[in-house]
């Protein structure tokens, strides 16, 4: 009897606290809504949201909880930025856990199944939630300023896009499935922990929701560019970052639908396996649908960030970009060629000579736009009188170097004789981690540091801590990815919870590197906490939105 009373008291207490919190939040929200409504109607607005959007139009936005209530473009941008950083830390923690579990050639503290859940989640979160999310965030945040938009009317769709993306990400996390980020059937149809995971269907649903969100978002972004920009911003005056976001949106719109159809069929297969099964003879069809999207989506991790680099370099060199035309051309060609190389992920699957020849040749061609872009950066840096080595600039230079390494490795594995040796090994892992850490992650942080005075309402970040963040990330990633490249060249298989013991040195190297990267991120958190606690000391402008460098917003120690 007394047990019953205790239980009742505990759960009743929790429920009561919960109810009080909900009521408080509701009260706060409805009070806010009343105030906003009153102000809006005074100004002659029917819609509260439109009133908010108009009053915030292109003004600097600070990072407060209100970004989740307001749906102006910059609030949406900040939502994506903070959410994607959150997922970066979740995905990163999964990555470090995997590294730690690989300290020995046999299973250590993770079962094979747990390892497989982590690797699946790490990849999905880093690609869909970090690389894509961060790109959309900077797009939403910067485009209104770059395009001097004269109206902000698409908040509803932008917000729907955001919430779908977030919901999808949560469903994937909840599903704890282990189909890897490929979701290849029939494995992903095996709804048990040894196969795709008990709730793999939930992960498929989650990604489908993410993709629906992305479609809505990309259409919205294109509409903002086409319809809402100031008439004075002509097409040949678009910033290179604007172009990069346009191309990214187009790429997503073109590439996602085939996989959305594929995922719908896969979902049906969970109940009645008819599409991607051995008896229907079309197991490989899914892999083709997947890579038709899978290759372009990894370019989402590069094109917008290439655009950001174009914006960052002039701020710290005082030099115009060497060639605007080559810049647009390079980014645009990257989009087009990204659609025709997907077969290089399936060289060994039985497609045979003609397919291999076609896709290895197109993969060589994809280097042309990359080379144009890298040349453009280097020529700009080369011709500037002085390069100010601020933290964002260090991230940029390191990113360019990492991209060159990763790119050259990419070309190497596009040659069939090399690919037959390294496909499915850590060589490939090394290839894209050079790019994901150097460009995607590095440039995201570079841009984040540059926005810091605005989003923190006039504070500056701590320079020594930012430097430590940079050096640990750069050096750690170099050690980690190089170890993978060497091990992979010897045939060290990726995505395995255990390995031949002679691969141990390369595993240990990458574990060391991985933990250095991890420590670097602690400096970032520390920096954010310490800097936010200080009181505002500069104006709330930032370098990415203003046409000219404003010296006052750069923290002491970053200039000279």
């Amino acid at each position: 009897m007394s047990d019953y009373v205790t239980t009742l008291t505990i759960y009743g207490g929790i429920a009561a606290v919960f109810a009080i919190v909900i009521f408080a939040v509701y009260n706060l929200l409805s009070t806010r809504k009343d105030i906003v409504s009153e102000m809006a109607s005074k100004e002659g607005y029917d819609s509260d949201n439109q009133f908010i959007r108009d009053s915030l139009l292109t003004k600097p936005r600070e990072l407060t909880l209100s970004i989740f209530l307001n749906d102006d473009a910059k609030s949406i941008g900040l939502r994506y930025i903070v959410t994607s950083i959150l997922f970066f830390f979740i995905g990163g923690a999964f990555g470090l856990t995997m590294r730690l579990s690989l300290t020995g050639p046999n299973l250590t503290f993770l079962t094979g199944d747990e390892y497989n859940v982590l690797i699946s989640q790490h990849a999905v979160l880093m690609i869909y939630m970090w690389a894509v999310g961060s790109a959309l965030g900077f797009g939403y945040y910067l485009l209104p300023s770059h395009l001097k938009v004269y109206r902000d009317i698409r908040g509803l769709f932008s917000s729907i896009g955001y919430w779908l993306w977030l919901l999808g990400g949560f469903l994937v996390l909840l599903a704890q499935s282990s189909p890897r980020w490929y979701f290849y059937p029939p494995l992903s149809l095996q709804l048990n922990p040894n196969g795709g995971g008990l709730y793999d269907w939930l992960a498929v649903l989650g990604i489908e929701i993410v993709l629906v969100g992305l479609m809505i978002t990309c259409i919205t972004i294109l509409l903002i560019v086409m319809r809402d920009r100031s008439p004075e911003v002509k097409r040949d005056q678009f910033s290179l970052f604007t172009w990069s976001i346009i191309f990214t949106a187009l790429m997503i719109l073109v590439s996602a639908p085939p996989l959305m159809v594929g995922f719908t069929m896969l979902f049906y297969d969970f109940f009645n396996p008819v599409f991607f099964t051995a008896s229907s003879g079309s197991v490989l069809l899914f892999t083709i649908l997947f890579w038709f999207w899978g290759h372009p989506v990894v370019y989402v991790a590069i094109i917008p960030y290439f655009g950001l680099i174009y914006e960052i370099i002039p701020k710290f060199t005082g030099q115009k970009i060497f060639s605007y035309k080559s810049g647009v051309f390079g980014l645009g060609l990257l989009l087009i060629l990204s659609e025709v190389v997907w077969g290089h992920h399936l060289f060994n699957s039985g497609l045979g000579f003609a397919w291999v020849l076609f896709f290895s040749t197109t993969s060589f061609l994809v280097v042309i736009p990359s080379a144009v872009t890298v040349f453009n950066y280097i020529a700009t840096l080369w011709s500037s009188d002085k390069i100010r080595l601020t933290t964002p600039m260090l991230f940029v230079i390191n990113g360019i170097v990492d991209f060159i390494i990763g790119g050259v490795i990419g070309v190497m594995q596009s040659a069939y004789p090399v690919n037959a040796d390294v496909h499915g090994t850590y060589f490939v892992t090394g290839h894209f981690h050079f790019i994901f850490l150097g460009i995607t992650t590095g440039i995201s942080f570079a841009a984040f540091y540059m926005l810091f005075p605005t989003i923190s309402g006039g504070r500056t970040y701590n320079v020594p801590l930012a430097r430590l963040h940079f050096y640990f990330t750069a050096v750690g990633s170099l050690i980690m990815s190089s170890s993978w490249i060497v091990g992979g060249a010897l045939g060290m298989p990726r995505a395995t919870a255990g390995y031949f013991s002679f691969f141990l040195p390369y595993q240990l190297g990458s574990i060391l590197g991985g933990f250095i990267v991890g420590i670097g991120q602690i400096f970032f958190l520390w920096n954010m906490a310490a800097s936010w606690l200080k009181s505002p000391s500069v104006d709330n402008q930032n370098l990415l939105e203003s046409p000219n460098p404003i010296v006052t917003v750069v923290p002491k120690g970053e200039m000279e």
């Binding site: 079962t111 094979g112 199944d113 497989n116 890897r180 290849y184 029939p186 494995l187 149809l189 095996q190 922990p193 040894n194 196969g195 795709g196 099964t277 051995a278 008896s279 003879g281 197991v283 490989l284 060639s323 060289f347 060994n348 699957s349 039985g350 497609l351 045979g352 000579f353 291999v356 020849l357 290895s360 040749t361 060589f364 280097v367 042309i368 080379a371 040349f375 020529a379 080369w382 011709s383 070309v411 596009s414 040659a415 069939y416 004789p417 690919n419 037959a420 040796d421 496909h423 499915g424 090994t425 010897l490 045939g491 298989p493 990726r494 995505a495 395995t496 919870a497 255990g498 031949f500």
Partner: protein, 156 residues
Amino acid sequence: MSDKKGRNLELYFMIGVLVVLLGSAAANYVEIAANPGSIPTENAIPPAGSYVVRVFATQWAWSFEYPNNTTSVGSLTVPVDTNVSLVVTSIAGAQQSAVIHDLLIPQMDIQIYAVPGQNNTVTFEPTVVGSYYFECVEYCGEYHYEMRGYMEVVSR
């Protein structure tokens, strides 16, 4: 740097890049055209006179069936200085349905997917007697990492 000088430099740089790329593409073509049997191909007929091993991938083991109808599980034995053809497919194992696997023999530069409902063929010629490691490199579930072993190349 002056605009014109920069333009010229860009041109030379791009020509250089193109030369390297076209060179790589040509080398790639020559390599694979000279040895198309090294590319896994669906339903390809093994070359006449080759030593044909039927390979079955399951969750989670490799089994091999030799020309003399003997079989082995987890390790493979092939004769030296002979064309060896692997005909690879995937069949259901512990999990009731067949999934995709991928057999990699790094020191032989050979890699071939095991796809359910499909027979892929690849041909290579081991020239040195010895022991070579192989492994599954297409993720296939819980015990994926255990699908590894050694290929013995023995004298005839």
